[in-house]
């Protein structure tokens, strides 16, 4: 029966000791310990979160790089294409130009030939006239000698002209 009969003295001591113990431990142990543990947990969580964030940023950066690379590639392709086109257009333009010029040169040459021809003809004409005059002169001179001879000469001269 003694076992389950409470002793007041012991009870009072336990209550007093526990109150003092709770007070002392709260002030000097539980509060600093809980605070330190809480802070450490918070810092670990922060570190984990920031690591996750860094990972995400890294992924973003990688994606960005990929995108930029793609863009650069596309740009390069476009530039090449443009250059190709430009080359083609330059060549065709140059060909056209050359053709034009050749044509023009030909035209000019023809015109020149024509005018040269005309000039030559007029020259010939004037020479013919001169020649005619000379012939006439000699004819006139010969007329004075022989009529028959005069006629022969004229005929001969005319034949020459016709031949020319």
């Amino acid at each position: 029966m003694d076992l389950i009969t409470p002793e007041y003295g012991l009870f009072v001591w336990q209550v007093v000791v526990l109150i003092i113990l709770i007070f002392l431990l709260t002030k000097f142990a539980w509060k600093p310990v809980m605070k330190a543990v809480g802070e450490r947990e918070a810092s670990i969580n922060d570190a984990l979160a920031s690591a996750e964030k860094a990972k995400e940023e890294m992924a973003n950066l990688k994606a960005d790089n990929e995108k930029m690379l793609q863009q650069a590639r596309a740009e390069r392709d476009e530039m090449l294409k443009e250059a190709q086109e430009m080359k083609k257009s330059i060549i065709s333009e140059a060909t056209e130009d050359a053709n034009d010029k050749a044509e023009r040169i030909l035209e000019k040459a023809q015109i020149t030939i024509e005018s040269e021809k005309k000039q030559a003809l007029s020259e010939i004409k004037s020479q013919v006239a001169e020649l005619s005059v000379q012939i006439a002169e000699s004819v006139v001179k010969k007329q004075l000698d022989d009529k028959k001879e005069q006629m022969n000469l004229v005929n001969k001269m005319l034949d020459d002209v016709k031949l020319n």
């Binding site: 409470p6 003295g9 012991l10 000791v17 003092i20 431990l25 142990a29 600093p32 310990v33």
Partner: protein
């Protein structure tokens, strides 16, 4: 015996927790040594008087005014403790050694003009003019004496103070660590920190809730570690049976009850007194049950702790007492390994009971402060 302890030590050395290992090994060695001394004295005594196992067990699990380590009678080695009494005449103090190991109420101590006797570790003050304690044969009530209010530093109080001191040293030491560094402590301090976090994450938070748990943490932590340390200390040979004493567990249970009563919200009282959502005629019946429940909860706490710890001690003492009951040393071959097994089991129980007490305290507090969702 030496071989056994060595075997245990070698097995334990494989354990990784160094400090824990040391604690356990130290305890076992002390246990076996003290068992030796107890065995010797008891067999000597056996020649003269019959061995009384009940008396032996009761002596080991009850409180006393001196801290008895070994020896019997006048040769006993007992640490004297102060006796503090509040009588009609006022406060009286003297050392327990003044009784000269007498617990039969024969040795009269005079102090402050009054006469005191120690009868079965209860101190009586004799009435005026009386010289010796007289008892009623049937009722066992003292006829010519009464009990003063006994505030003595008994074995249990001394052990309790020792536990308290140990707790302060351990945890103030842990707190000091954080002043030096923000990192997790190493070794034994890490175990302590893990246990603090265990109480917070496995007991307080799930039972009371994220919002309110912080307020009750000091109580839960203090009670948890006090019970645990006291349980472990109680397993040391010659140590006091603090947590296996009803007065102690009543005090602990009372703390939980007071916390529940002080912090309970309107919702809780409404559910106790006038439970919503049930037929009206059932409500008064349920109110009686619920009101009883408010008090039964901490009473169950206090009985559970007291009974578990006391039972463990009784089993160990009975197994060893068996040797003397059967008067054969050969029984030791069976009862010592059994006692050892129970002792190791008690190490687990020491933690388990501390956990259960704290857990249920947290649960009851949680129930009292919970915000109910009305359906």
């Amino acid at each position: 015996m030496h071989e056994i302890s060595e075997l245990i030590l070698s097995q334990l050395s494989m354990s990784t927790q160094k400090s824990f290992k040391i604690t356990v090994a130290l305890m076992l060695v002390l246990f076996l040594n003290s068992f030796n001394s107890v065995a010797k004295t008891d067999t000597d005594e056996e020649l003269t008087e019959e061995f009384n196992p009940t008396e032996m067990i009761m002596h080991h699990i009850s409180d006393s005014h001196g801290w008895h380590f070994f020896g019997e009678g006048e040769d006993a080695f007992t640490l004297p403790l102060p006796v503090i009494l509040w009588t009609d005449e006022g406060l009286t103090t003297f050392m327990s050694s003044a009784f000269h190991h007498d617990v039969e109420g024969e040795h009269v101590v005079e102090s402050n003009g009054q006469k005191f006797v120690n009868y079965h570790e209860k101190i009586y003050v004799l009435d005026e003019g009386e010289e010796a304690l007289k008892f009623d044969e049937k009722t066992h009530a003292a006829l010519n004496a009464n009990r003063p209010f006994d505030l003595s530093i008994t074995k249990n109080v001394a052990s309790m103070l020792l536990s308290a001191l140990l707790l302060i040293l351990l945890f103030v030491g842990l707190a000091k660590h954080y002043k030096k560094s923000k990192n997790a402590p190493k070794g034994f301090k890490n175990i302590l920190e893990t246990l603090v976090v265990f109480v917070r994450d496995e007991i307080a938070k799930p039972q009371i809730g994220e919002k309110k748990y912080l307020k009750y943490m000091p109580f839960l932590l203090t009670v948890f570690f006090f019970i645990w340390i006291s349980n472990l200390m109680g397993l040391l040979p010659g140590a006091a049976n603090v947590t296996g004493n009803i007065s102690i567990t009543i005090a602990l249970g009372l703390f939980t009850l007071v916390l529940i009563l002080v912090n309970a919200n309107k919702d809780y009282w409404q559910h106790v007194v006038w439970m919503p959502g049930i037929p009206t005629f059932v409500k008064p019946i349920l109110a009686i049950v619920e009101i009883l429940g408010v008090f039964i909860k901490p009473i169950a706490l206090m009985i559970r702790l007291f009974a578990n710890i006391t039972a463990g001690h009784i089993i160990i003492l009975s197994l060893i007492g068996l040797i003397f009951i059967l008067e054969t040393a050969g029984v030791a071959a069976i009862s010592v390994p059994f006692a050892l097994f129970i002792t190791v089991l008690e190490l687990l129980v020491a933690f388990l009971q501390a956990f259960i007490f704290t857990m249920l305290s947290a649960l009851f507090i949680g129930m009292a402060v919970q915000e109910h969702e009305h359906h």
